[in-house]
Structure formats: structure tokens, C-alpha cells
């Protein structure tokens, strides 16, 4: 939220800078089984975001102090490659990647049947290869596909989409400019089969009506993205 309110990001016809309508989502490609040594993996291209997720496990949890006697633990590591943005990112963990790893693990814990694997660990590596706004949503969605590909039992897939506000108009799936210069951002994680919410963050200000509009955009987009995930899992697995 850069706060540059004078940047015109939506034209008189209601089209955004990349030609999308307010409710449109960027093009999405999903592929499973891209990391042969992993138990499950997924590559997701969402606009110009590109994410690779690999899942390993369930395996013995190390160090032993992280073991839980009644369930498995999810070890999520979100990382942006140094070359993923125009400005080089210093390699390694930082405060932002720790936060995203934690919220991703929290969202996935609500669907993975962890109690089936006590004292073990499921390792999820999320690597952002190319970043253009909304990487936490792409990472979470791709992680859920990779978990399914790994044969980890889950009650549902998790779909994450963000909507926001640019030039006082609520739009779905912000791109980089809209994210940088827009007025608000509302990423959500949804269980498409039940409509339950497992992840919600908000940056900036939205009125109740705008919030409702962003919510609706996210829910509609989540259902469409879910169809793509199902198709990738049914037709993929190669």
C-alpha cells in the first residue's frame, strides 16, 4: 500500500492496466509431480508469479523437541529466490518469510489430518521463483495441491485469493502496481467444498461494503481456481 492515490490504475471503461475487469483473475497454470525426489510437488504459474512447492514426509520429526505426541507437525518454509524480483533479495529467512510460513502452516493445519501421524513431521518447501504480488496466496494454494499429490490425507484443498482497492474501486487478484499503489489488500484462504475460511489478512482500509465486495470476489475466484486445481490433480500426477 504505497499510498500514491494519484496513480491512475483503472480507465474510464472500468478496465485495469493489464486489461482485466475488476473481478478477473490472472492466467493460471498448475502442474504436479515436478520435483521427482519429493513425495509430492506442484508448480503454479499465476500471472507472472511462479512458485514451486515440494512436500516430504510424513517423516521423523527432528529436533525431538518439536514432536507432538498426538499429531504431526507441519514444517513450512516459504522462501523467495534472490532473483525472484527486480531488486535482489538477500538469501535466507527474514521476518516476512517467517510470518508467511507461519500463516501458511496455520491455514493448512485446519485441513490436513495430522492426528494420523503422531510424532512425525511433514515438510513443505515453498520456493518463489518469480514474484509479482500475491505470492503468499499462490504459495498456499500450490502447497495444498502438493500435499494432495503427496497422498497426505486432507479434508479439503485450500484455495487462497486476494482482492483489494485501487482508485476507490474494489478489484480481484491485484498485480504488482495495484499492490504497490493501491489502497487496500485482502488475502483470504477458503475451503471450496464448505466455504469455510482458514486464512484472512487485511492491509489498508476497506468500508463494510467494500469488504463485502472483496469477500465476494475472493469467494468466486476461489471456486474457479479450485476447478483448475482439481483438473491438475486428476489429469496430472505424472
Amino acid at each position: 500500500m504505497g499510498g500514491y492515490g494519484d496513480v491512475q490504475m483503472i480507465d474510464e471503461n472500468g478496465l485495469r492496466m493489464d486489461g482485466r475487469k475488476p473481478g478477473d483473475v490472472r492466467p493460471i497454470t498448475i502442474e504436479t509431480g515436478v520435483v521427482p525426489v519429493a513425495d509430492g510437488s506442484c508448480r503454479m504459474i499465476w500471472g507472472t508469479n511462479e512458485v514451486i512447492v515440494a512436500v516430504y514426509g510424513p517423516m521423523e520429526a527432528h529436533p525431538r523437541k518439536i514432536q507432538r505426541q498426538d499429531r504431526a507437525v507441519l514444517d513450512v518454509a516459504y522462501n523467495m529466490a534472490p532473483f525472484s524480483t527486480t531488486d535482489r533479495i538477500r538469501p535466507g529467512f527474514n521476518r516476512r518469510s517467517r510470518e508467511i510460513s507461519k500463516v501458511t502452516a496455520d491455514a493448512l493445519e485446519s485441513v490436513v489430518l495430522l492426528e494420523l501421524y503422531p510424532r512425525s513431521k511433514i515438510r513443505i518447501g515453498i520456493e518463489i521463483v518469480s514474484a509479482e504480488a500475491g505470492t503468499r496466496c499462490v504459495g498456499l494454494t500450490a502447497a495444498s495441491v502438493a500435499l494432495a499429490d503427496a497422498g497426505i490425507p486432507m479434508t479439503d484443498l485450500v484455495v487462497s485469493v486476494a482482492s483489494g482497492k485501487i482508485n476507490d474501486v474494489v478489484v480481484c487478484d491485484l498485480n504488482k502496481e495495484e499492490d504497490n499503489y493501491g489502497e487496500a489488500d485482502l488475502p483470504m484462504g477458503v475451503l471450496p467444498n464448505t466455504g469455510e475460511l482458514v486464512f484472512l489478512q487485511m492491509d489498508g482500509d476497506l468500508s463494510p461494503d467494500e469488504f463485502k465486495q472483496a469477500w465476494d470476489y475472493n469467494m468466486d475466484a476461489a471456486m474457479e481456481v479450485h476447478k483448475l486445481m482439481v483438473e491438475a490433480l486428476k489429469g496430472g500426477g505424472n
Binding site: 478477473d24 497454470t29 509430492g40 504431526a72 501421524y117 494432495a148 479434508t155 484443498l157
Partner: protein
């Protein structure tokens, strides 16, 4: 609306290629619908039992895994495309020694949790502190699961007929749920494979195989295993 890009050589998911609505009246049975994903509705639960990979939620059957839906009698199951071995007492398994103390070996049996092999259940009489003289780190063993606790910690034994340290041949593995196909009806597939390759093949329940014989035979078996795994991953493939 979601648009999809087409990238050369990549399988692409598109909304216009999307399949059907879920059936409202009991588990589906058409070939295309056999592959299910987590959370997918499999129909009403009344009159059906939920088997492996299936949950009953609010009177509906729901899949918890990606795999093929099967119905045997009243029981609906999902045969996953990927599985993790879960040890059960009595299973014959092939393990790798990962570590040891003065009186215990730690054995990787490809389960979510390592097993232990106590000195008393080892292959030979061992002096306290002499575990590495008998089985060293990196050795492979044919053993049997003796006991599994509630927390999934398991104990393996090497006391029994045919249980030994593996000193020759090669090891390979397949997903544990493919063992049924590997063995075949009445053991026919495995028997044919043994005859063709002239190898001794020991199939362990954790999906690992010990193949002992001439190098050409070992290659034949490995190629057959690779083909089996590949076919099983194809949607609508071997059933």
C-alpha cells in the same frame, strides 16, 4: 473469470475442460470419475461404509486423498496414487540401519517414524557396546515388525526364519499400495517375473524389494517395477 495459459509441453488445467457435477445419489462409478481429490463429494453415505481414504461428513462420503475410488460391496474406498507405509505387527520389512547405541539399532523402515531393533532381537549374540560390529550404519536388513505402539513407534526383530542382513543383490522400491499389483492374482505376476529374470525376489510390506541374481535379471526386474509405478500414476490406468 480465470483464463489459462498454454505453455509448450506442459499439461494445462482449464475451466473449459472441467468435468461433471457431483452425483447426489450415492457413489459414482463411471471410469472418468474414478479419480478423486481431497474434499470431493462421493455421494450419500446411507447404505455405504467409509473405507480407506473416505470420511463421512454430514451424511455424505468425502474423499481425503487423491486416488481412485473403489467400491467393494458396501464399502467405498479411495486407493491413493501415493502412500506412506504404516507399520503393522508381523509385517516383513526391509530396513536400513541409521544409527545405534550400545544396545539398540535405529532402523529406517520408510515409515513416518524410525523403528528400533534391540540388541536382544538382533541377528546374533552381541556384547554390550558391540552393536556396530554386527550391524553397522548403512547396512540393510530383512526384519519383521514385532510391535507398534499407539504413537507409531515400532520395534523390529531379526529372530525368525529367513530374517538376515542383506549382503548381496540390489534393493528397489515401489509405493506400498502397488504391492498387490506386483504380486498379482495368486502371485502370478511375481512368479512370472522371477522366472523371466531368474532372480530371487523378496517383497517386503514397506514397498522395498530385495532382488538377488545376475545383473541382467536385476535390470529386468527394475524395469518392470519402473513400468508398474509409471502405469499406476496414469489416471485411468491399471486397476
Amino acid at each position: 473469470m480465470v483464463a489459462s495459459t498454454v505453455m509448450k509441453g506442459w499439461p494445462v488445467a482449464r475451466p473449459d475442460t472441467m468435468s461433471r457435477e457431483s452425483s447426489a445419489d450415492g457413489p459414482r462409478d463411471s471410469r472418468r470419475d474414478l479419480v478423486v481429490v481431497p474434499g470431493e463429494d462421493l455421494g450419500v453415505s446411507e447404505g455405504h461404509e467409509a473405507g480407506h481414504g473416505v470420511l463421512v461428513v454430514d451424511g455424505r462420503l468425502k474423499s481425503t486423498k487423491q486416488g481412485r475410488m473403489n467400491k467393494k460391496g458396501n464399502t467405498v474406498t479411495v486407493e491413493p496414487l501415493h502412500t506412506t507405509y504404516m507399520p503393522r505387527p508381523g509385517d516383513l520389512v526391509i530396513g536400513h540401519i541409521e544409527g545405534c547405541t550400545n544396545n539398540i539399532w535405529f532402523v529406517d523402515i520408510d515409515a513416518p517414524f524410525n523403528s528400533i531393533l534391540p540388541m536382544s532381537l538382533g541377528p546374533a549374540k552381541v556384547e554390550f557396546g558391540g552393536t556396530r560390529k554386527v550391524l553397522d550404519i548403512g547396512d540393510s536388513i530383512l526384519c519383521r515388525v514385532q510391535e507398534v505402539e499407539e504413537t507409531h513407534q515400532s520395534v523390529v526383530t531379526m529372530k525368525g526364519l529367513g530374517l538376515r542382513k542383506i549382503k548381496s543383490g540390489a534393493l528397489d522400491d515401489v509405493d506400498p499400495h502397488l504391492l498387490g499389483r506386483l504380486i498379482g492374482k495368486g502371485g502370478k505376476f511375481l512368479k512370472d517375473l522371477k522366472l523371466e529374470s531368474e532372480c530371487r525376489i523378496v517383497v517386503a510390506e514397506n514397498g522395498r524389494l530385495w532382488i538377488d541374481g545376475e545383473i541382467d535379471g536385476i535390470f529386468k526386474v527394475r524395469n518392470a517395477l519402473k513400468e508398474l509405478s509409471h502405469e499406476a500414476r496414469q489416471v485411468g490406468g491399471v486397476n
